[in-house]
Symmetry: C2
């Protein structure tokens, strides 16, 4: 098997038997509000720090997901989680509450699908009965860590994106009711030399395209095999670039089929979110909140979620490095 075959097939068809999402006020003000399990009216969620609020999001999303799956914490075999914080403290402290054996992962905003792919791999291998995949982000922890202190209220260019405050979690099992994880395409680093952290959509677009192409090559599928293909958080600028690149490469995407979670989670024209949403919570809350519901309702039959990640750090930026990007894609199918 030569490189190029970067897709994992889950022949046992692991089932998402429960999922949940918990979000902040801006996401609750957006078009998908009705799809979330809990909307916090305030960004601080009555916690003493933004970081503690982010951790709470993850704990609550996990609790709801386990409840929906009718699985006790004690029955959970593994938790695969990650977030954007240094040393992924939100997931780790949530893992302390969850109590299950824990695998921390990091792929910036692509962590949502990285964790889902790994949880599906674990269940598919027969190594556990229930695996939880969950990620979170918080607008203020991300602003504070990656940009400026939140008190600054700093202005941003229109190419910048707005980190989603939200957590999403999914419980996977070898059988049960719910959508099925079919396969996952693990991305490679793509870095075309973009250095502007206020234009991460443009930086990430080529990585999304690379993974989508690899997915089609590996699986023999085409855009028409999916009812919906969504990128994680390319937002206005990046999603347009991805569409152009795919068209150039002979894979034209219809607007009805090709979406972006960063454009779905907010009313971009009305809400003050610059180019759209970002953060690993972005693709997680759209996928686990909105898209899984549409799969269950029969509105969608098969989707591909291509979560994109910009793998820079403030330090790598300060040292003049460009932004290495990645995208991981997971195909989810409604149970027939």
């Amino acid at each position: 098997m030569l490189r190029g075959k970067q897709t994992w097939w889950f022949d046992k068809r692991p089932v998402i038997i429960g999922a949940a999402t918990v979000v902040g006020p801006d996401e609750g003000d957006g078009p998908l509000a009705a799809d979330f399990d809990l909307v916090h009216p305030e960004l601080d969620m009555q916690q003493k720090s933004w970081e503690k609020a982010e951790r709470l999001l993850m704990e609550q999303a996990s609790d709801f997901a386990l409840k929906h799956a009718k699985v006790n914490k004690q029955e959970l075999s593994f938790y695969v989680g990650g977030d954007l914080m240094n040393q992924i403290i939100s997931s780790t402290f949530a893992a302390r509450s969850i109590g299950a054996p824990y695998l921390g992962v990091f792929g910036a905003c692509s962590t949502s699908m990285e964790s889902l792919a790994l949880a599906a791999m674990i269940i598919n291998s027969g190594s556990g009965q229930y695996a939880l995949a969950g990620v979170c982000s918080h607008n203020c922890t991300a602003e504070k860590q990656f940009r400026y202190p939140t008190e600054y209220g700093s202005q941003k260019p229109p190419t910048a994106q707005y980190t989603v405050t939200g957590a999403g979690a999914a419980v996977l099992a070898p059988d049960g009711d719910g959508p099925v994880v079919e396969c996952a395409t693990i991305g490679k680093i793509v870095d075309l030399g973009i250095k502007d952290p206020f234009n991460m959509g443009a930086a990430m677009a080529p990585a999304a395209v690379d993974t989508i192409q690899a997915h089609f090559n590996d699986t023999g599928r085409e855009p028409k095999d999916y009812d919906l293909i969504v990128t994680g958080d390319l937002a206005t600028v990046g999603h347009g670039i991805a569409k152009d690149l795919l068209k150039r490469d002979g894979v034209p995407m219809e607007d009805t089929v090709f979406g972006d979670c960063g454009l779905m989670v907010y009313d971009v024209a009305r809400q003050k979110v610059q180019a759209g949403g970002s953060g690993c919570g972005c693709s997680a809350v759209v996928t686990y909140g909105h898209l899984l519901k549409r799969l269950k309702q029969g509105d969608l039959k098969r989707i591909l979620v291509v979560a994109t990640g910009a793998l820079l750090s403030p330090l790598s930026f300060q040292q003049g490095e460009s932004i290495p990007c990645i995208a991981h894609a997971v195909a989810i199918e409604a149970k027939p």
Copy 2:
């Protein structure tokens, strides 16, 4: 399967067909010097920053490991990597050079065995031909990020540990010559309330004990089933505590069987390393450099590497949080 079964069995017995280690001057001055593929005489490795030096370690260790495995970069199916840096930039930038589909992981110093366990899971599942597991750490990047600017030359209490400058990488394949990865026990978060980042050995010891106990429970094995059981980086203080806890729990360990990579990598009495080595490079260079060689020579038949991680961040410490700890264990056997 109820919780408690936290061990993955690799029935296809993935083989470590090549491994390599690259270290800094202090490790080159230690008792295992002859086991490393490359010893850098200077900490900066002629790079412009400590971070670039750390990345170089990872790139070189990967190159050597692939060379030993007789695998081209282009043939590599997946790279599973991580490090201690914020947003794991060392691994990510190395992944850009390596070019293979990439899964970033974070478990602090336990990342060494987390990445090996996941790479073994991928190969065992038949999802790839060659998987690279690799981690790195650098004394000066860790000092700078977690403690004080390196220029300070700050003094430390004797319970503190010295971060290993080194990278270790292993190439796994479904068959070939080399030691075999038998199984992996994924750890849970254990946090007994210790808040002192200058005593991480004590914080991590209970996590090591929890995973060792889980491993014995899951597998039905006992200490005598292993020629050597090594913890990752508990060093003098933590290793003593782990031994006491295991004895209390009815699992006495002989000194000849129970070691610690943090005590093996340096001559702790002679070198100025406080309680001993730490960092995800610590267990990686001892395992991939020293222990694999002893397995190949027939000196050891079966070992258990229990990599320990202290999952704090400077921010979680500043916010008064205790240190959540974890340990992941991987059993490696010489091919009969």
